[in-house]
């Protein structure tokens, strides 16, 4: 952007009066632009360049097993769409992202509302619910693997056994494995969403609630017609970031099931990782590009839906 502006200024076809204005603007903003250079450099080195390389490699047969790399056109993409595991990965990533983000927010929102009231020990509860988010996901996965294990000392099975419920093969049954993974992540991250709701709740004017009470509004109606619409920014942040990070799920799957049993809990990123591990870098790169496109599309749809909702609220 900076180079574009400089070239524009030097262009012989540009308007001299406008040039002066732009020059002045740059002169005023140059310290700030320069301060941004390190950040832009990080962005360039760690995101833009790797992304461009990934896109280029996705059209090659670069692998660990050949010293020669050649351009193969759309071969990798053709291969991807005939690979049944990709569809399992996309399906699981979507299920994980949607269910996880919905469950997190369905729990986080009422908890945040309760903890925003003048409750005793509310700060303690806030810290307690937020604390799992501080832990590394790999550590959480390791801990939960012992809680969910189907061996005799599985904590969760022992707990439900107290109520006479038969042990469940949480991680070993293809029908329950993904649900078990989601459960651990709802536990870990709903506190994060709760904190964002709390921050937003504290910015809602008390006047709105007082006015509604004078009008005879019930608590439930206050929640529906004041709290929820006023929380639109927090809901947007929680859903969009939750959805995008949900699509990127990787570490918890690796630490709990490694994508198994069979391919039943594979996600796009675990598959991409296994393609890299196999040494098929070109093929793995094409997985990365497909993932990027799916993420952009989904984020775009979500943002569009929010815009419609916000417009309606306004």
């Amino acid at each position: 952007m900076l180079w574009g502006t400089i070239l524009f200024i030097k262009s012989p076809f540009s308007n001299p009066e406008r040039n002066d204005k732009v020059k002045n603007k740059i002169s005023i903003n140059s310290p700030y632009i320069l301060m941004m250079v390190p950040l832009l450099a990080i962005y360039l080195v760690f995101y833009i360049i790797p992304l461009l390389y990934t896109a280029i490699y996705s059209f090659t047969d670069w692998s660990n097993y050949s010293s020669v790399t050649s351009f193969t056109g759309l071969n990798n993409y053709q291969k991807i769409f005939s690979d049944y595991t990709l569809f399992i990965g996309i399906k699981n990533s979507l299920i994980y992202a949607v269910v996880n983000v919905l469950m997190q927010n369905v729990i986080a929102l009422p908890v945040a509302v309760i903890l925003n009231s003048k409750l005793r020990f509310r700060n303690g509860f806030r810290a307690l619910f937020f604390s799992p988010a501080v832990l590394s996901t790999l550590v959480v996965g390791f801990l939960w693997s012992y809680i969910l294990t189907s061996s005799d000392y599985g904590l969760l099975n022992k707990m439900i056994g107290v109520f006479g419920i038969e042990p469940v093969n949480w991680l070993g049954n293809p029908k329950t494995a993904l649900a078990a993974i989601i459960l651990t992540q709802v536990w870990q991250w709903f506190g994060w969403a709760m904190v964002i709701y709390l921050a937003n709740l504290q910015s809602i004017s008390e006047d709105l609630y007082e006015a509604s009470m004078i009008d005879g509004c019930s608590r439930w109606k206050q929640f529906l017609y004041i709290t929820i619409p006023q929380l639109a920014p927090a809901i947007k942040i929680n859903l969009v970031t939750g959805m995008i990070s949900g699509l990127k799920v990787f570490d918890i799957v690796v630490s709990l099931t490694k994508g198994g049993p069979g391919y039943s809990t594979e996600t796009i990123l675990t598959l991409m990782f296994s393609k890299f591990s196999e040494g098929n870098y070109g093929y793995a790169a094409s997985f990365g590009i497909v993932f990027l496109i799916v993420s952009i599309l989904l984020a775009g749809v979500l943002l569009r839906l929010f815009k419609v909702w916000e417009d309606r609220l306004n």
């Binding site: 140059s30 450099a41 670069w62 097993y65 291969k79 294990t149 591990s277």
Partner: protein, 427 residues
């Protein structure tokens, strides 16, 4: 003046960031390092922990001439393949390349120097050089021989008047007897371990290749894409799958990790589990009497263990000091260092001609098998033309599917064929 200062500061920050991205020296990046860095450092990375490698590295450094020092960096096995692959693909990596099932892949990718005419190559027998040779040329030397079998609890066997089984049919009978007495016969942690895969491969090694209808030549043909597993292995996999059908491997095991099996075995809750010498120290630390018997097929007189050369050592073609690396490789191939390597891996055996290792009494049931050299594994033979590790990973996944009831024998073999078709080097 202020702007100039900000500009200089920005430039310095950018330089610092980009500088931080540049490579250090030899690609060894983390974890533990053994050996002192000097001007002539030869690097090596591996997944053997420092307590296993310490004596070996020390012995080499004591004998290294010319001011060289060998520096060893431990990398966790789970990350090892990715770390080494990325470094080699970037034209860098350690001077000494250490790898197991993927060693043929490194040869194929032209990452290794040929060492066929080096004197020290003749120190090893043919089986030991199998994984590090291609087209009649040698690119590496073995460390020691690994193998897997079945650990069993002697006290439980004695309690029920059982003896180690001699055939696969006898193994099923033993399992049934133990089940009838309320003892869990076999322990498998299938959520993350390859033990069921070892069990199947062990059966195939005994029933299909040796004493069966085929020889190991079948794998050479499979590696080249001339035959398929599907249509050839079906009856054998079906026979092995009796172990699933009879419930000795069940769905519950899919929710258990490999490391959760050992405590149950040591507590006497499980009578047998698939494993190898790498479990020995932990088993020895327990309070039970145990032993190991071989994988089984139909012939009680000719049993085979699953195994082969463990890590192989070769010289990185992009090494900045191939002469120094060659000196280190020669020492790795010396009798003294080879003995040290085997001693550090209790129960392992050597491919070095003339080194006979003494193995503890717990291995008595497999002594004859080891002495006869009946140790082999199909993925090493497949590895001549495809990445063996990828086939192992696919095999584990498909077997999980079989245990979960999602995959039939036919689908399992078809999936293995499809995977092989997609990763053959000559495709």
């Amino acid at each position: 003046m202020r702007k100039r200062r900000i500009f200089i500061l920005s430039v310095l920050l950018v330089a610092f960031i980009i500088g931080g991205c540049s490579n250090s020296s030899n690609g060894s990046n983390d974890d533990t390092k053994l050996g002192n860095k000097t001007n002539k450092t030869i690097s090596m990375i591996g997944w053997y922990e420092e307590n296993i490698m310490e004596d070996t590295i020390q012995k080499i450094n004591e004998s290294l001439e010319g001011g060289y020092t060998l520096e060893y960096t431990f990398v966790n096995l789970k990350q090892f393949n990715n770390v080494l692959s990325t470094q080699l693909a970037a034209g860098e990596g350690p001077d000494i390349v250490m790898d197991g099932a993927s060693f043929p892949a490194r040869i194929k990718a032209n990452y290794l120097l040929e060492i066929t005419n080096e004197d020290f190559v003749t120190n090893f027998n043919e089986a030991g050089l199998e994984l590090s040779s291609a087209n009649g040329k040698v690119y590496g030397i073995p460390s020691y021989g690994w193998y897997s079998g079945v650990w069993y609890n002697k006290e439980i066997f004695e309690t029920y008047n059982l003896t180690p089984p001699e055939t696969f049919a006898e193994l099923l009978e033993v399992c049934q007897t133990l089940t009838d007495h309320g003892v869990q016969p076999l322990g498998f942690g299938l959520s993350d371990s390859d033990t069921a895969w070892h069990s199947l491969v062990g059966y195939l090694e005994n029933a299909f290749y040796n004493g069966g209808t085929q020889t190991t030549e079948f794998d050479t043909k499979f590696a080249e894409g001339e035959v398929t597993l599907s249509g050839n292995l079906d009856p054998y996999v079906n026979e092995w799958a009796q172990i699933i059908k009879k419930g000795f491997i069940d769905e519950k095991m899919l929710g258990i990790s490999g490391e959760q099996i050992l405590p149950d075995f040591l507590a006497g809750k499980i009578a047998m589990f698939n494993g190898g010498p790498w479990h020995y120290e932990q088993l020895k630390g327990g309070d039970i009497e145990f032993g190991m018997f071989s994988h089984l097929g139909n012939d009680k007189d000719e049993k085979w263990l699953v195994g082969g050369p463990a890590a192989n050592f070769g010289i990185n073609k992009n090494s900045k000091d191939p002469e120094g690396a060659k000196k280190v490789l020669a020492l790795l191939a010396s009798e003294e260092v080879q003995k040290t390597i085997v001693e550090s891996n209790v129960g392992g055996f050597s491919y070095f001609k003339g080194i006979d290792t003494e193995i503890p009494e717990e291995y008595n049931d497999i002594k004859d098998v080891l002495a006869a050299g009946r140790v082999g594994v199909l993925w090493d033979r497949w590895g001549t033309n495809m990445p063996g590790q990828t086939m192992i990973d696919e095999g584990i996944k498909q077997l999980q599917g079989m245990v979960a009831g999602m995959t039939t024998t036919e689908q399992f073999l078809k999936a293995m064929d499809d995977k092989a078709n997609s990763i053959r080097y000559q495709d």
